[in-house]
Amino acid sequence: MSFEDAVVLDIPDFSLVVLIGATGAGKSTFAARWFRPTEIISSDQCRALVCDDETDQSATADAFELARAIAEIRLKNRRLVVLDATNVRAADRKPWIEIARRWHALPVAVVIDPGADACIANNKGRQNRDFGPSVPRRMTQEIRQGLARLPREGFRQVWRLSSVEGMAAARVERRPLWTDRRDDPGPFDIIGDVHGCADELEALLRRLGYGLRQDGTTIEIVPPERRKLVFVGDLVDRGPRTPDVLRIVMAAVDAGQAHVVQGNHDQKLSRWLAGRDVKIAHGLRESIDQLAAETADFRDRVKTFLDGLRSHYWLAGGRLAVAHAGLKEEMIGRGSPAVREFALYGETTGEVDDFGLPVRLDWANAYRGKTTIVYGHTPVAEVQWVNNTACIDTGCVFGGKLTALRWPEGEVVDVPAARAHAASARKLASPAPERDAQAAADTLLDHADVSGRRWIDTTLFRRVVVAEENAAAALEAMGRFAIAPQWLVYLPPTMSPVETSTRESWLERPEEAFAFYRGRGQAEVVLQEKHMGSRAVIALCRDAIAARRRFGTTSDDAGAIWTRTGRAFFSERATTDAVLARIRGAVDAAALWDELGTDWLLIDAEIMPWSAKASSLIEQQYAPVGVAAQSGLEAALDAATRAVSRGVTVENLRDRLALRREKARRYAAAWRPYAWPVSSVDDLKVAPFHFLASEGAAHFDKSHLWHMEIADRLIAVDGGILTATRRRQVALGDEQACAEAAIWWEELTAGGGEGMVVKPLSFTPRGSKGLIQPALKVRGSEYLRIIYGPEYDLPENLIRLRERGLGGKRSLALREFALGQEGLTRFVARAPLRRVHECVFGVLALESEPIDPRL
């Protein structure tokens, strides 16, 4: 490290810059010239902030606390920090080195030493700097004495400006850290631990589409268009052809076609090549022997190459990081001894296991970052995603396979090992056969991930906010009543009713729904009969093995059925199993498993009768109202009739009572079509209408016609539990068709039907202003009697009921729809359970918002 005056100060764009200089040396002037005001933390200014006097030395301790707090927060946020203080003694600088290390920022020293005389001259011109000449002199002396020890104190760069002219000529330039290659967008082919397996590497590169041309010792690599290689390290040791591997990788790096991170074996070999004392074990011998046959020049190049390897790379705009043994979120794109140590070895407890190998802490289980981390180091049988991390060391040298992960595609390409080139001390960490690594990592959810005010970003809509009190309400419901979160990957959104009808004696009519979608650019809608049962979400697996594998459950259940609030739909497990078995039979017969390439399905359905789920609601609320209304009005009508007959003028009252009694009678009859006794599964009906997801796909991108067609096919082969949803398609531009559709609805509801749901053909419809209501319900007038009460359609009641505001309900419907879709998208993409659960939890929380439940 040169202490000569530098003209260009190349400092990392993320670092902690400690200015060192006597009072009056010109630090603040220098800082102001080269750094933003927000980057500079000045001890004088901190003193002023805490006590209004920047020279009050008694405030130094408080000012230091403030400076430290600002520095730590900025470093946490990965922002450059410049410390403008004298920092004369090692003891002054030590805390800053520690802070830099804690946040994995490079500590940089900039010594500003124009000589004591210049300092004295500068101080003369300033107020409150009448220290006299002795202070700058002593400081300058102390700084110069400590200069040589700065690197040992921990500074990774030391810059010195030792004259007024030198300060004026100096220029600060910022460079990204070596590890920061966010500018490289990829796409990448990331290769796992090679360990000298050149045959397999060559085969893998060919499979990936790379051309390999060898001319003597010169290798030329022709990558597929725009693709680049990334090696997770451990190129060397154990395997048979380490020099050839190095030749290929070095050629690729030289040609700008590859990034390589350092593995612990690479580092050890590099140290051996540098003549350091290294214990020869774990396959290093093979590398040494093989390199002995190479030229000294090659060995030198290898030494330089391996020594220059980085701890990790941060790529593709920050979306990807590659490190040999993994990386914690707070280490990405940063540099410190701890980062290097972690990247090389991962996190270990310091203990060793039965095989004499270090016991690892599973950092990936705790990883929460948005940056995808791809790593190697620990051999696994198959690539497994856990919390947005993937280990791609599939133990090629031990007879496994050499794996490449294509990024961002996520596609895994591998070639089997030609043979086991080395014996493994430990059996390959094989994934549990029935439960994937993500499921195992997701055994527990954390209270902190669902409590408090929350923001959930959805791709479909926008950020959805969950208020703290709603989250609290959902926590109780989820904790006490919901089924296991492993099953509960989706909750259906609420649905808004249509705009209130303006026609006399109607509250809801189809015409408003047609107008709504016509006005939002939809050409066609599908009308679906609204079943009067209870909403159910059905997770149907082909068998319990599929359930355990995909949902990460641990029981023998091959599916689950839950309500719109996440409770088990049936209280008896046997009923659930029987219903699942029947639906499974239909899916089997329709050969849907193979067609969709899945062994599980998520179905959105209505289960009838209403009374099966709502019997207590009927018995305790709806039925008593009917009984009370009829008997009370009957008694009153009788009295009024008798009064009229003796000449009292209560005709109006009598007629009104008669009308009310009739409405009470119709009320009591309204829910009868929806109630029938259930003594076995034979009495249940299931009407599926959305096939929400199957392996690898959330089917929100399919039109409702696709969903209904699948339903038709299942019903066609069903053994007697599925029921069809009557429907029709209507072109909104066709007035005649709209009128006919309205008549269809009238007939449907006159026959006891609840009503219909109007949906654009697209599952996720968009208008000019973004997502629009995915569906509107148009309820029949008799059904509304159940909801709004026996006498809702008396003119004086209807006029007030019409004043209902739909804005809150509509907003809720959109937010819940977006959250539900987001959760399923994450589930299908095998996101960690907490990421799926936060969406489901969010839907439940939103449901506790105070919205008129009659809507």
């Binding site: 902190a448 926590l475 006490r480 039925a623 109202v625 009370g632 009064a643 909801i787």
Partner: protein
């Protein structure tokens, strides 16, 4: 919504004078919640019948109501159609002077017992139809009760016919007080003045009524302080050991003779003391009984109560005087809203955790998550678990075979099942389990409550 009052006192049409309503006219009175109409279907010298029909506005009833608790939050409800506290309020408004026992024209009649017949329908009754008899017969009525048929079997409504020779004012006051008592509900929030209302309307006859306690308790909606105040004024000589302000849960009633919950608290407190714990988490703390018990002991330096129910926590805060202005707050205690199927850093690091009658409120398939949270993640040195002993259930006379002690119980374990579960936990997470019982142990069926102390 319907009440009919008739008399055969001659001339019966004097009923019009007593009620201050002309028998040949229709009388309408606007009320806050709707409209009352009075007319006379019959007005002869031999018999005269006045009818009050209450036309409650069902839309107005639910409009603009926030998230307050109570029946009226059900958007469709029976209130517009039944004889409830609405009808009491209407009677008091429409027949004010009759209820006060005064009459401008017929004061002598107002002071006199008359042959009266009253029909009230539909009258909601919580409890059996015999209650109508039990309430009205001691007051001098002959009672006919006709249960109104429901959709499936009898409904909770009756048509009540009362006949007797009574002062009209007394008859009306009986209706005024007893209709809401039978219904066991009120449409308005009751304040301290409710005691005055009760004494004004029922003071004269309630004192000697055999169902006095029930009437007072229901009329005052079981608000303990009010109930005690009313009883103290009606019967100061009797010491009333009434229920607390809240409705007792089904489980409490079942197990009441045993005072089992108190025994559990003592047993767990003793086990915590034996374990030498100083930082304790009461997981599923409910209303904070254990915390209150532990707080008396200075050896406990940190007390955390966790519960899924915000309401329970509010009551616990009340009991423990947390957040109450002017109270000395015990800094050792904190209450947390949370559930046991989520890992929770807020209560990690305690020496001991108590799960008193908690696990049976979780579905069995959620128990592994609870075990992982408590024994895998938090790992306190001591964990105390209590749960009902299902073996003992045969000894509860009112508990049907196979039924659980509380409707929210998802399971109840035999002693063997509890020991099997604790054994699995112990071997999986490295604990030792010691089992014991709480409450009087039956030689064959064991104690009512079983307790496992798991230590590591």
């Amino acid at each position: 919504m319907f009440v009919s009052i008739s008399t055969t006192h001659r001339p019966a049409t004097d009923l019009g004078f007593l009620l201050m309503k002309h028998p040949d006219r229709v009388h309408e009175v606007e009320l806050a919640f709707g409209r009352a109409v009075v007319f006379f279907p019959q007005a002869q010298e031999a018999r005269c019948e006045a009818v009050l029909i209450l036309d409650i506005d069902p839309i107005g009833l639910v409009r603009g109501r926030g998230s307050a608790e109570g029946l009226l939050d059900q958007y469709v409800n029976d209130r517009p159609y039944v004889a409830s506290s609405f009808l009491s309020v209407a009677l008091n408004r429409v027949f004010r002077s009759a209820m006060a026992g005064t009459s401008r024209e017929r004061q002598d009649l107002a002071a006199m017992a008359l042959p009266l017949e009253i029909i009230v329908t539909p009258l909601p009754v919580r409890g059996s139809g015999d209650l109508v008899r039990a309430l009205f017969e001691p007051l001098g009525w002959m009672v006919e009760v006709e249960r109104i048929a429901g959709e499936a079997g009898p409904s909770r409504y009756v048509r009540a016919r009362l006949a007797g020779i009574l002062r009209l004012a007394d008859a009306l006051s009986h209706l005024y007080v007893l209709m809401p008592v039978l219904d066991d509900d009120k449409h308005y929030w009751i304040g301290d003045d409710e005691v005055e209302k009760l004494l004004a309307k029922g003071g004269a006859w309630l004192q000697t009524h055999p169902k006095r306690e029930l009437v007072i308790r229901r009329y005052l909606k079981r608000r303990g302080a009010l109930v005690r105040a009313a009883l103290a004024r009606l019967a100061p000589e009797e010491v009333f050991d009434g229920e607390s302000g809240r409705t007792a849960g089904a489980e409490d009633i079942l197990e009441a003779p045993l005072r089992l919950h108190d025994l559990r608290i003592e047993a767990v407190a003793a086990a915590l003391t034996t374990a030498g714990a100083s930082a304790v988490a009461d997981l599923g703390c409910g209303e904070g009984k254990l915390l209150a018990r532990l707080a008396r002991d200075q050896r406990f330096t940190r007390l955390i109560g966790l519960d899924a129910s915000m309401r329970a926590l509010e009551r616990a805060a009340d009991r423990l005087k947390i957040g109450r202005i002017g109270a000395t707050r015990d800094e050792r205690i904190s209450l947390l809203h949370g559930v046991l199927t989520y890992r929770d850093a807020r209560w990690q690091g305690v020496d001991a955790a108590a799960l008193i009658e908690v696990i049976e409120h979780l579905d069995p398939d959620r128990l592994p998550a609870l075990a992982e949270v408590v024994f895998g993640a938090a790992r306190p040195a001591t964990v105390i678990v209590t749960t009902p002993n299902a073996d003992h259930n045969v000894l509860f006379p009112t508990l049907a075979a196979g039924a659980f002690r509380h409707p929210d119980h998802r399971f109840e374990w035999t002693r063997a099942e509890m020991q099997a579960w604790a054994g699995t936990i112990a071997s999986r997470y490295g604990y030792r389990a010691v089992h014991s019982g709480i409450g009087d142990a039956h030689p064959e069926f064991g104690p009512p409550t079983q307790m496992a102390v798991l230590t590591r």
